[in-house]
């Protein structure tokens, strides 16, 4: 037996990149705007989909792929809003990936807008391109006003940063301006929205952004 050294140059993310590109081709072919929504559990991701559906469902066909470690609670919530939905239980994985989306995507060929609601955390989903058009990251003031500076990479790569539950900022002593400043220091071009979904703050700003995004895909 003797020892050899083999130069490899194998890209481990190559399969993910290829599948994400295939997802992107599928979405483009069918004129679908796809949004990867990321954020912690309880930040308001599912409520954002519900409220968006309540407003747009008569003029925009909406689909949602819902990633959760276990359970179908989110699925049941959006289906009640006439959203065409599919659940992906990721089991031991803490994020969606392009492969999971690849399996689920075909039934959504007739929608105009597809939400991909990622598993609730600000770390694991970052490294996985799903083939989406836009990345939306949602945080709430109740997570603490240092949550953005603690998770730089997810905010650096976001197209929209939503700071939710701003009506509670005073009660939890969170400084929303600091959160906005942190977001801007990490990302010069993302749309930043102050929001409180339960108090209808910032929701119109979101709809305006979304309608512009939808018109770009047409």
């Amino acid at each position: 037996m003797h020892r050899i050294e083999v130069d490899a140059e194998i890209d481990i993310l190559d399969i993910d990149k290829r599948l994400a590109a295939e997802n992107r081709d599928f979405l483009k072919k069918h004129g679908i705007t796809a949004i990867n929504i990321m954020g912690a559990t309880g930040s308001g991701k599912t409520l954002l989909i519900e409220k968006t559906a309540d407003t747009l469902i008569d003029k925009v066909k909406i689909g949602a792929i819902l990633g959760d470690v276990i359970g179908k609670a989110d699925y049941e919530r959006v289906v009640r809003r006439r959203v065409k939905a599919e659940i992906i239980n990721t089991g031991k994985e803490c994020h969606l990936d392009a492969h999971m989306i690849h399996h689920a995507i075909e039934k959504f060929d007739d929608v105009d807008l597809l939400f991909m609601e990622n598993v609730g955390n600000l770390i694991c989903p970052v490294d996985f391109d799903l083939g989406e058009d836009y990345r939306v990251v949602m945080v709430s003031v109740t997570e603490g006003d240092d949550v953005i500076e603690k998770h730089p990479e997810i905010f650096r790569l976001a197209d929209v940063i939503i700071i939710n539950k701003v009506a509670l900022a005073h009660a939890v002593e969170a400084n929303v301006n600091k959160m906005i400043e942190d977001a801007r220091n990490l990302n010069a071009i993302a749309k930043i929205i102050r929001m409180d979904l339960k108090k209808n703050i910032g929701f119109n700003e979101w709809l305006e952004w979304l309608e512009e995004a939808l018109s770009r895909s047409k």
Binding site: M1, I4, E5, V6, L13, D97, L186
Partner: protein, 107 residues
């Protein structure tokens, strides 16, 4: 864990192609901006390689820094800031890949 699984699958495939009896070392380049904990990667490598010809192999991790440069003034930054002191929007490239660079094996 899924990354480690992919590393091991690729290493074993390569070893089989070369007719190796044992894999002794795997050199991996890891992008600095990936949110992968290298200690966890090493631990998963140990566990997932058990019972394969890569059991006991050394996993050497080399970190690759991203290229962070302001396109306006040309300043290089050591970490990803959004806006340069000159007001330019900083460009970040690389630092997001996992590459198996080299595999040492006994044939």
């Amino acid at each position: 864990m899924s990354f480690t699984q992919a590393i091991i699958e690729n290493v074993l495939k390569l070893a089989e192609e070369k007719g190796a009896k044992k894999v002794s070392k795997v050199v991996v380049e890891l992008g600095d901006l990936l949110l992968i904990n290298p200690e966890q990667l090493g631990f998963c490598f140990q566990v997932l390689s058990c019972g394969t010809i890569a059991e006991g192999a050394t996993l050497e991790i080399k970190f690759v820094k991203p290229h962070i440069e302001c396109p306006i003034c040309g300043k290089h930054h050591s970490y990803p800031v959004a806006i340069c002191e000159c007001g330019g929007i900083v460009k970040v490239e690389g630092g997001k890949d996992i590459i198996i660079k080299r595999v040492e094996m006994e044939v």
